[in-house]
Symmetry: C2
């Protein structure tokens, strides 16, 4: 279905006429359950195979509202999905048409990729069915060492279908997208081996994005759970997902996630590399790491966190910290550097790494391995020393045509947040900043989605392009399904609050239509427009469950007599049938007061 | 028990020696349940009847940490409490000793005070047992029209026991407290008819405070529930509680709440006045309102929201708003003004009201009846016109020696928040600002504790003295017990994040001891120091329930191999037995690198 004028993140249009036809398409998605007030629609670009998904909310007053949608084909009842087959490779023809890539045999998948080096006592794959059964595929790479990156195309002046796609999605011109990518101020993570994704962009001129972390660990969780968490996270608005698995079956879990993901997938290759050396950091080598990166690039990982900024001389800077090194990758690299008393192999081989990433269009997410893990350690020498190195690495990556974003903290009190984004933008030539929170206090374990949501909203307002979510389980355990949802919703709030504060075109329309619905007591519209319609409806129904209450001009909070909005409406009704009339009548009264000095009390001398 | 050096909001001390004795006192509070790692203690002031409660957390390393405590005698197993008798009148002797007040017969309590004007079909009190059975008492008021307010005393240079009490609580000198109150920059809400409270202070130089709203409505909830919500809210850290009841039994509910509350209680007298005229705003009169204020002042209400700033000429300014008037009190007053086409009776009789409040030391909370109810309406003419009037009223109140704070919005996008606090401080001579949130977006009903927690943290950092909590039920229904807890915890986070950002002395010590415990894997200490120990422990136990896991050097999030803090500790162990040694050894390496130009790659020309 083509919606020609539904291109803003939250554009309104009167579709009273079209409604009848559209209602026949209304999503009967069982997962979405009660969310029957919206359906999946598509905005078509300049070519029929460029169809940008949107969430179209149908209001009871005949309006319809179009919202940005990350949920993929899963919420489109007209598209059949099967996790055992994977999603359709939307971008495949675009990639092939560019003619600069080639299929090749690829690196053979080995048992140790899934942590099965030692067969006893741990045994083989717990579940042999776990191997992804989808269509056979060969990996693809840039021909003749070409950098087949969106950055390379943008710099050449080419507007790719991917760029046009995100232009439609963000309601900007394709040229703006190309410019931002070419300047390194935005990234479009899109590995040529992940043709299933719906392209999206990360940059401060665009909508603030949210990443959700999933991943099993040695202690808990299974492949099925991780795939479910991924679709669940994107259903609630995650723009990218990082698979941070550290336990068994890393390769296979990632394959399932990638083949079923409509959003870019990020990883930290170091985690898998460490599994390959049985958790002994000092046994890591550049060769093992590089092999792991190629393995993951062939699978289609869209961006990789690389902790190349943790350099040997910076490790002592953490010695007097309250919480040392809290980044997993950072602590692994620090341990390696100290064990060998050598400079980081990631730092020393960074250019070679760039060449690999460029051949697949894997985007760098330069990790902040020395980020502060407590309020006491915020903005210290270790953190900023690493940031300066990230600035240096960013330039190398850009020289190699590799798209790059920079990761940021961490635990930072509010008054030290702005310095982080300002320094990062200056040192890293405005490369997109991608921050974890920051958490604004350490005292609330079990509520760190909130301690960090506060910092996230602020740093995004000031220019952070993507926010990595924090769930209520942070510091305590692995997030379950509910935690994933809570984390994503909290971060969508932070992101949208930032979009509003940045004055992002169209952002406020969403708030406006919801507030209109609230003032007019259109309860169903309020629910359907809410970030989380299910919970909003459930909370309302807890105290006023009856169906008539859905059209009542009050709620249980104040009851009918004390409903300010009801009184407000009554005022408008009783004192004029239009706003103009109230104003006119009242303006007269107002003038009388003004003429009388506009006060009842006389001015008070200080 | 006297703790002589436990005066900071989060001071640490080594009490290894005292531990044995103290452990015999450890709170066995059944409500607190699992929180056995802390107990209630008291810091004594200059006189034996001045004992300031603190929460003393005992750490497994022998340290003990003292935290600000609002939970009242309920968490002290050595004090017997009985909600049918009420709390002990701690301040009674202080009030009597001042010799400027008198007991008097008081206004007779009438059936209509509880909404029982019409006996049928609604019947009498649903539950006659509901009448508070505690000790008989007569109200007290200032003799000869004296202003018996902390403001009057402070201006006279007197340091009252209440001032000394908050000085101990806040770890500042009593003179600072007196000065801030005298200057109108802080309020100490303490009605002489509420001798049960543990005095606290609201002002930007002190810890940021949190208010929790409770109250039944015509639609739901009972007296018992409201008393329970009050003790529950203060248990989690609410510094004051507003009873916003609007249904039946308003007078009796309030009596139960007041007699059992260790924190100041606020109300909006207009709500009860409206009940007395059966919800017909136009039938309100100054006489009915004044009678209600006296009724509540005699009961002991510590601060009252008065919407005297909603003036007739401002009502038309709301005509083109997206969400009109969203304050209940504001909309009632606007309806009254329009119905009579007269200036607000609250505005016109404000000086007389001041005289009443001064006779009981009721603090004003000048309501922002025209606060924005949506992002679209933020910082508009209606809002700021009212603010200017609040500035005028603040000066009148101060002239009458009435303590005064100013209420603030509401729904405000992040980039418009600072203007609110800056203008308020300027217009209202730095009177304490008391804000509801603000909510930074409208799109997340069911998560408005978070949308507003973001705004609350920011505005508190910039100078707001007290934050009125918002629960997940905002816009949808009345909060239940869980919602109250979630609201309070969210706002304690916002308040503490602001204390940190303001550099409040002692604030960071709390974060520091918790982060120390985290780095050293003292899980029990982490839980006991957390804002919500129960949930932190529960989340940890969900994945690693076994008791040994409480001492494990990792958690389920990353598992043992990937625990950055474990690796960080191992590094310190392996590369030197002290931080100094690591530093020394590494500093040498660092120098070598510096000598080599501190980089592996050559500088890149731009």
């Amino acid at each position: 279905m083509t919606i020609k004028d539904a291109r803003t993140p939250a554009s309104t249009q009167n579709t009273a006429q079209a409604d009848t036809a559209e209602n026949t398409d209304t999503a009967e998605d069982t997962e979405a359950g009660k969310s029957i007030g919206w359906h999946k629609a598509y905005v078509e670009g300049s070519r029929p195979d460029l169809r940008v998904p949107v969430r179209q909310v149908h209001l009871t007053n005949g309006q319809s509202v179009t919202l940005y949608d990350t949920s993929g084909p899963y919420t489109d009842p007209l598209v059949g999905t099967d996790v055992r087959r994977g999603l359709a490779p939307l971008r495949e023809n675009w990639i092939i048409a560019r003619g600069d890539t080639e299929e090749y045999a690829g690196r053979p998948v080995r048992p140790e990729d899934d942590g099965i080096k030692h067969t006893s006592p741990r045994g083989g794959l717990r579940n042999l069915d776990a191997v992804f059964p989808g269509r056979p595929r060969q990996p693809r790479r840039g021909r003749d060492g070409n950098a087949v990156t969106q950055l390379a195309y943008a710099r050449r002046g080419e507007i790719t279908p991917e760029m046009e796609y995100v232009a439609v999605r963000e309601n900007v011109s394709p040229e703006v997208v190309r410019e931002e990518i070419a300047a390194g101020r935005a990234v479009l993570p899109a590995n040529i081996n992940h043709p299933e994704i719906e392209p999206m962009i990360i940059g401060k001129r665009f909508l603030v994005k949210v990443n959700a972390n999933i991943g099993n660990s040695a202690v808990t969780s299974s492949i099925e759970e991780e795939v479910d968490k991924m679709t669940w996270a994107t259903r609630w608005g995650a723009d990218t997902v990082m698979d941070l698995s550290t336990g068994r079956n890393i390769h296979t879990t990632r394959e399932w996630v990638l083949r079923n993901s409509p959003v870019p997938i990020g990883t930290v290759p170091l985690y898998q590399a460490l599994e390959k050396v049985d958790g002994r950091a000092e046994e890591l080598t550049w060769e093992i790491y590089k092999d792991t990166v190629i393995e993951q690039a062939e699978q289609g990982v869209d961006y990789m966190t690389v902790h190349a900024g943790v350099r040997l001389p910076y490790v002592p800077l953490t010695a007097n910290r309250k919480t040392g090194i809290v980044s997993r990758g950072g602590s692994i690299m620090a341990a390696w550097c100290l064990a060998h008393h050598k400079e980081s192999f990631l730092y020393e081989n960074f250019e070679e790494l760039c060449e690999i990433l460029a051949a697949y269009d894997v985007t760098y997410s330069l990790g902040d391995g020395l980020r502060p893990g407590s309020i006491a350690d915020a903005n210290d020498e270790a953190q900023f020393a690493e940031l300066r190195t990230l600035g240096e690495l960013n330039r190398i990556a850009k020289r190699c045509n590799v798209q790059t974003m920079i990761e940021g903290p961490g635990h930072v009190p509010m008054h030290k947040i702005k310095e982080n984004i300002d320094l990062q933008q200056e040192i890293c030539d405005e490369a997109p900043f991608y921050t974890l929170g920051p958490l604004t206090t350490d005292v609330a374990p079990a509520y760190d989605h909130i301690t960090s949501g506060i910092g996230a909203a602020m740093i995004a307002w000031w220019g952070t392009a993507m926010l990595c979510y924090v769930t209520p389980k942070e510091h305590l355990g692995l997030p379950n399904r509910d935690d994933v949802k809570t984390g994503v919703i909290t971060y969508k709030i932070a992101a949208h609050a930032a979009d509003l504060a940045k004055g992002h075109p169209g952002a406020q329309e969403w708030d406006d239509v919801l507030s209109d619905a609230r003032f007019e007591f259109r309860w169903e519209d309020q629910f359907n427009l809410a970030l989380d319609p299910d919970t909003a409806r459930e909370f309302h129904d807890e105290t006023l469950p009856a169906e008539p209450a859905k059209t009542a001009h009050f709620c249980s909070m104040c009851g009918p007599k004390f409903c300010s909005m009801k009184i407000s409406q009554d005022i408008r009704r009783q004192h004029g049938s239009s706003k103009g009339e109230i104003e006119e009548g009242m303006a007269q009264k107002s003038k009388e007061f003004a003429a009388a000095g506009n006060r009842v009390y006389l001015p008070i001398a200080d």
